[in-house]
């Protein structure tokens, strides 16, 4: 069953077109990788789905579980946001408010959509922090973002995104700001939780390695539109579009010698 269906999405900032007729769809419980070089319109797409674009002109349709989002009123989209579709951002330090304890920030997300007492929310927060692998969750919930390491902060963000058990998580470069070893842990965690909750994931990244390891399907974006799409292994094995081929060739591999010249994309 289709959960997210984006049809002919166009986003422009003034004269600049960021997304230019992009269409894709995502089934429940599946992982779709949206890949492309920086500036190809991936992040703008994710913000458009969340309804978080400011000062942009948008057209096209975004269907989420049978509801069209671009034409809906802001309140309706706001109610969905955080509850049924959640987002994980690239830089967990700047994405968390430095003035509030992390527990408060997660509880806030929960209480924005569920009527619960502070105490109940608190229990849920601790359970979530524990679930994403933060030791001593009870105590750490009272700590501030700057007291966590990069990987731990991203775990906090994941806990925040998952606390309402959304149907869709948009992860925008969730591991780019992290160390390589931590990247793998976070991806593994995301994958486990996704499977456990049956959440669909829209994974936005420039890192083809990340996509290859986690996504079911891939949409390759270039210049604001999709140039190629398909099942992840098939696409990586046999890319049809020259752009995809060059994108794949640009990935440095430790099992091959470094080419004399890098191909220009």
């Amino acid at each position: 069953m289709t959960l997210l269906d984006v049809k002919d999405l166009r986003v422009s900032f003034g004269e600049t077109r960021a997304v230019d007729g992009l269409s894709f769809s995502l089934e429940r419980g599946r992982v779709l990788g949206l890949v492309g070089e920086s500036g190809c319109g991936k992040s703008v797409t994710s913000l458009a789905v969340m309804g978080l674009l400011n000062g942009a002109t948008t057209s096209g349709e975004i269907w989420f579980d049978g509801q069209e989002l671009l034409g809906s009123d802001r309140r309706a989209v706001r109610r969905l946001r955080g509850d049924r579709l959640a987002m994980i951002f690239q830089d967990p330090l700047s994405s968390l408010n430095p003035y509030y304890p992390v527990g408060f920030q997660i509880a806030e997300a929960y209480r924005a959509h569920r009527r619960t007492s502070r105490k109940q929310a608190r229990a849920i927060v601790v359970r979530m922090l524990d679930r994403v692998g933060i030791p001593e969750a009870e105590r750490r919930a009272r700590d501030y973002p700057h007291q966590f390491s990069g990987g731990m902060r991203q775990r906090v963000m994941i806990a925040m995104a998952l606390c309402l058990e959304p149907e869709l998580i948009i992860a925008d470069e969730p591991t780019t700001a992290l160390d390589v070893t931590v990247q793998a842990q976070i991806l593994a965690l995301l994958d486990t939780l996704r499977a456990e909750y049956g959440t669909a994931v829209l994974l936005i990244t420039h890192d083809l390695g990340v996509v290859a390891g986690t996504a079911d399907e891939v949409v390759v974006m270039y210049g604001g539109r999709a140039v190629e799409r398909g099942e992840v292994h098939a696409l990586f094995e046999d890319p049809r579009e020259p752009y995809t081929r060059r994108l794949l060739a640009a990935v440095p591999r430790i099992d091959r010698p470094v080419p004399d010249r890098l191909e220009t994309l």
Partner: protein
């Protein structure tokens, strides 16, 4: 934290000492003879000699300075024998003009200055921060442009100009307010308010402009932060996003600026008080300067500097309280 506080206080004391020393030296490059000043018009050479002796003017300057500082902490006795005058802690000397201890003068003048400073501060915070927040939230709108234009105008208004125009319009032409007088808040609340209103507006016009601009810049910066986007992504209502997530980081730097401004203002809203003839610390300074009443000038300068330095320490601590990154230290 305590070590830090002690360090800050030590630095503050050092700064005050240097300021004291500098101000003290100025008297000795001044052309006037303090003894002559203290003595007044009907003066005999013997009397001058006596005063010289009493004030210790014959001893070297560093020694005089040392006894001055000692006087602040422990009190001192001027002169010896039958002419000895006791000056208790915290001794800042006697006014040449009125022979009243300077510390008493300061204490008696402080309520007026405090009334002016605190009232004006409340006014400019409400108006300035309020206008700045609205302007930032409606960036580019008609309101934003009008408010920022007015803010620039307010910054450009010299206090005495605003003060005189206000007084001319409200007192002379329209006769809605009386000439300001020094009235105690407790004795006559209505009279106090009527007297303070013009000084408040005159001072607040300047500061409200500064605070409106500062608030707007800060809030616009904060609203573009990633954590505000996260707050929106959680599905929080926009009001909560602004109030809880954007305003607090905006107000933290403003609080610190405010602390320093208030500290500087408590030391004497000099021009405001002079224009309205209100007997505050600033008027005391102006009068003392006009009559070369050196102990009073020295006392007021020190007093005002103490407020500024103290406000700086308080602001540092406040910043630590308000910003968890500083309070708990970056890991």
């Amino acid at each position: 934290m305590i070590v830090y506080l002690l360090k800050r206080l030590g630095a503050a004391a050092a700064i005050l000492l240097v300021i004291c020393a500098l101000t003290f030296t100025i008297f000795y490059i001044a052309p006037d003879d303090p003894a002559q000043k203290a003595c007044g018009k009907a003066c005999t050479p013997e009397r001058i000699e006596q005063i010289r002796d009493q004030l210790g003017l014959d001893t070297p300057i560093p020694e005089q300075f040392a006894s001055y500082v000692r006087g602040i902490f422990a009190g001192r006795t001027y002169g010896t024998g039958s002419t000895a005058v006791e000056c208790p802690f915290p001794c800042l000397g006697f006014s040449f003009q009125t022979n009243v201890p300077v510390q008493e003068l300061l204490v008696s003048r402080l309520p007026v200055s405090a009334s002016i400073a605190v009232g004006a501060a409340v006014l400019w915070l409400l108006v300035g921060v309020g206008a700045g927040v609205l302007a930032a939230l409606r960036k580019g709108s008609w309101w934003d442009r009008t408010a920022m234009g007015a803010a620039l105008g307010g910054i450009s208004l010299p206090i005495y100009l605003t003060a005189l125009v206000l007084q001319y319009l409200l007192v002379v032409v329209f006769e809605v307010l009386p000439y300001p007088r020094a009235v105690g808040l407790l004795e006559d609340p209505a009279g106090w308010f009527a007297s303070m209103l013009m000084p408040w507006i005159a001072l607040a016009a300047l500061y409200a402009g500064m605070y409106a601009r500062l608030t707007r810049t800060e809030l616009i910066g904060v609203l573009s932060q990633n954590f505000v986007r996260t707050a929106r992504a959680k599905g929080l209502p926009e009001r909560t996003v602004v109030r809880r997530h954007a305003l607090r980081p905006t107000l933290t730097p403003i609080v610190t600026v405010f602390g320093m401004d208030l500290g500087a203002l408590l030391g004497g809203a000099l021009i405001t008080e002079s224009v309205f003839g209100l007997p505050g610390v600033g008027k005391l300074a102006a009068d003392a300067i006009n009559s070369s009443d050196q102990p009073v000038i020295l006392g007021v300068t020190l007093f005002a500097a103490a407020f500024i330095v103290f406000a700086n320490v308080v602001v540092d601590l406040l910043y630590a309280v308000l910003d968890p990154r500083i309070r708990l230290g970056a890991s």
